[in-house]
């Protein structure tokens, strides 16, 4: 069935969405994390009344403001695309996706923007306590915004709390709390925000390291490094811990993604994590050309079995197992993809026949087809792969490398924060020029890790836009690929111009540095 979709329109719609989401995600993590770092700094100022802390807070607040201003509303472009390029998807998920986004828009955005005004305009106009409260509420508001977006994303990765209505072709919400408290959504939220805090901490430490190398604003830089490193260290530890939770959720709902993350062709018990490895261009098995063999690999045994199922001996399936069927660690039989596709087709035909029966007023046929649809609905999306079961295998090299880049960089950030704290405790920060340089170099690496995380999450779940229910190719609207290309290139031009403008303003502000004495 794949060839019946306009693959060019699908590809351009995906490319445009990826471009916009990745551009939006340049700004979001710094906003999420820096808001809390500023709140901590202002709290120290509030407690100590030391004007140096006010100066430090105001400097980082300016950096926050620049980042927020350029990033604000870029996420709305994604919503434009839902209506134009992804109309079938938007209709199919309707209320479930719409509700969290509406809450995000109404509650968090207004909360955030109200208190940001007090943060920037209110220094001498409201009481210090009220100002501090506004700063904390800005941080909370920003993170609440993220919560609702990630709940919506979590539902796409592991749909729960809904029922498909064949009369409207929409998934209707049955339990708001099942959706909000779904383990996938909860782990995704914690992993995403703590990794964002880590990125912000790296930025604070890196910029401060630059000041130390230049011999400028030494006190501000040292204090910022201490706050940034403590905050960063705690954040990266929580990121690693929540990564464990994410692995459990992925193993349960998206075993193919987990297999792609580790490049597993065949599953095993005591499944290990590939500490270092490189994929060759040759497939392991000509039957599955999507799965590359390893050129070399160094594996730590048991880690993935343990992370996924809290049991070193648990079976973790590989691509071949998922394609051909297997029995999972709890003894449940997971059907081969071919069989799931057949059952998905039964569901799809039942939807078609239900609609026909409804038009004809044939209630008996409606009831028969509704039963068939409900019995096979969990396989609905597989119907589109009846002629090409291998279409459910994601791009393994990109998923594998993105995952490992993210993990390796995560451990590097942990080491970096420890080193900075160690040198700060010895009062030797200004002499550690190599470490200071590493701090600066790590800033872009934090962005690489952050983007890589989303690549794993979103490319690793392909071909699904809603796991098992709707593949990406069935989600697009009937729009021409050329019209999507036009807007894609418009985005490239405008986004590039905005990014250049931001970096120019940002670098200028960093060059100026804080105003001494907090005035």
């Amino acid at each position: 069935m794949i060839e019946q979709f306009d693959s060019s329109a699908v590809d351009w719609s995906r490319a445009q969405f990826a471009l916009t989401a990745m551009y939006h995600w340049i700004f979001v993590p710094l906003t999420l994390g820096l808001a809390f770092i500023i709140a901590f700094m202002e709290t120290i100022y509030y407690k100590t009344k030391n004007p140096e802390w006010k100066s430090i807070t105001k400097f980082w607040m300016t950096i926050f403001g620049i980042n927020f201003a350029i990033g604000v509303a870029t996420g709305i472009i994604l919503e434009f695309q839902f209506g134009t390029n992804w109309s079938s998807y938007s209709w199919f998920v309707g209320d479930i996706f719409g509700a969290p986004l509406a809450i995000e828009g109404i509650m968090a955005f207004f909360m955030e923007s109200t208190f940001i005004a007090i943060m920037f305009f209110g220094w001498n106009k409201v009481s210090p306590k009220f100002h501090l409260t506004a700063t904390w509420l800005t941080a909370l508001g920003a993170n609440l915004s993220a919560l609702w977006i990630l709940v919506a994303n979590g539902w796409m990765q592991a749909p729960v709390g809904m029922k498909f209505n064949p009369e409207t072709a929409r998934n209707e919400m049955e339990s708001f709390w099942d959706i909000v408290l779904s383990p996938t959504a909860v782990h995704k939220f914690i992993h995403t925000i703590t990794s964002s805090y880590t990125l912000a901490a790296v930025v604070v430490v890196g910029i401060s390291a630059w000041y130390l190398l230049k011999g400028r604003h030494l006190l501000m830089a040292k204090r910022s490094i201490v706050v940034g490193s403590v905050f960063g260290l705690l954040s990266i530890l929580f990121t690693i811990l929540s990564g464990d939770g994410s692995a459990t959720a992925v193993a349960k709902h998206q075993p193919m993604k987990l297999a792609a993350m580790e490049g597993y062709y065949e599953g095993s018990t005591n499944a290990g994590v590939i500490a270092i490895g490189a994929l060759s261009s040759d497939p392991v098995d000509p039957k599955y050309p999507e799965v590359n063999d390893f050129l070399f690999k160094a594996e730590i045994p048991g880690i993935i079995s343990f992370l996924a199922f809290n049991d070193f001996d648990a079976f973790v399936p590989g691509v071949k197992d998922i394609m051909e069927g297997y029995t999972d660690h709890e003894g449940n039989v997971v059907l081969p993809v071919k069989e799931r596709a057949e059952r998905g087709l039964i569901a799809r035909n039942a939807l078609k026949d239900f609609t026909k029966a409804k038009k004809e007023g044939n209630e008996e046929a409606m009831a028969t087809n509704l039963k068939l649809l409900e019995e096979n609905y969990e396989h609905f999306g597989y119907s589109y792969f009846i002629d090409n079961p291998n279409g459910i295998i994601p791009n393994i090299p990109i998923t594998f490398y993105s995952f490992h880049i993210m993990v390796i960089l995560g451990f590097w950030f942990l080491l970096l924060f420890l080193l900075f704290l160690w040198m700060a405790s010895k009062n030797k920060l200004t002499n550690s020029r190599l470490l200071l340089r590493l701090g600066i170099i790590t800033i872009p690496l934090a962005y690489v890790a952050s983007q890589a995380g989303w690549v794993v999450a979103e490319l690793g779940r392909q071909p699904w836009v809603v796991q098992d229910l709707m593949p990406t190719m069935a989600a697009v609207s009937k729009v021409s690929a050329s019209s999507i290309q036009i807007t894609f290139w418009m985005f490239v031009v405008v986004f590039t111009a905005l990014l250049i403008a931001e970096l120019k303003i940002l670098f200028k502000q960093i060059h100026i540095g804080p105003k001494e004495g907090g005035h």
Binding site: Q81, F121, K125, M473, M490, A501
Partner: protein, 75 residues
């Protein structure tokens, strides 16, 4: 004794004062935000990003029929 302005007026004045006393960087950022919002809502949204189900169909019933057709006959 002068009467204290009401809460609404105080909030408005707070914003007016804030914008008036904004530094050069703040003004540059606001200019960028306004340009960005203009491009997004006045050009992209209106010209390039119609909500196709809203513009092409009159009722939810028609929209449902269209999506079911798309899902069940994907040619």
């Amino acid at each position: 004794m002068d009467k204290k302005p009401n809460i609404g007026a105080r909030i408005v004045n707070f914003y007016i004062d804030g914008f008036k006393n904004m530094g050069k960087t703040g003004k540059q950022l606001w200019l960028l935000i306004l340009i960005k919002l203009f491009i997004m809502f006045a050009i992209w949204r209106l010209v390039f990003f119609p909500n196709v189900l809203k513009t092409d169909f009159d009722s939810d019933e028609e929209r449902s029929e269209h999506v079911i057709e798309q899902l069940t006959n994907p040619e």
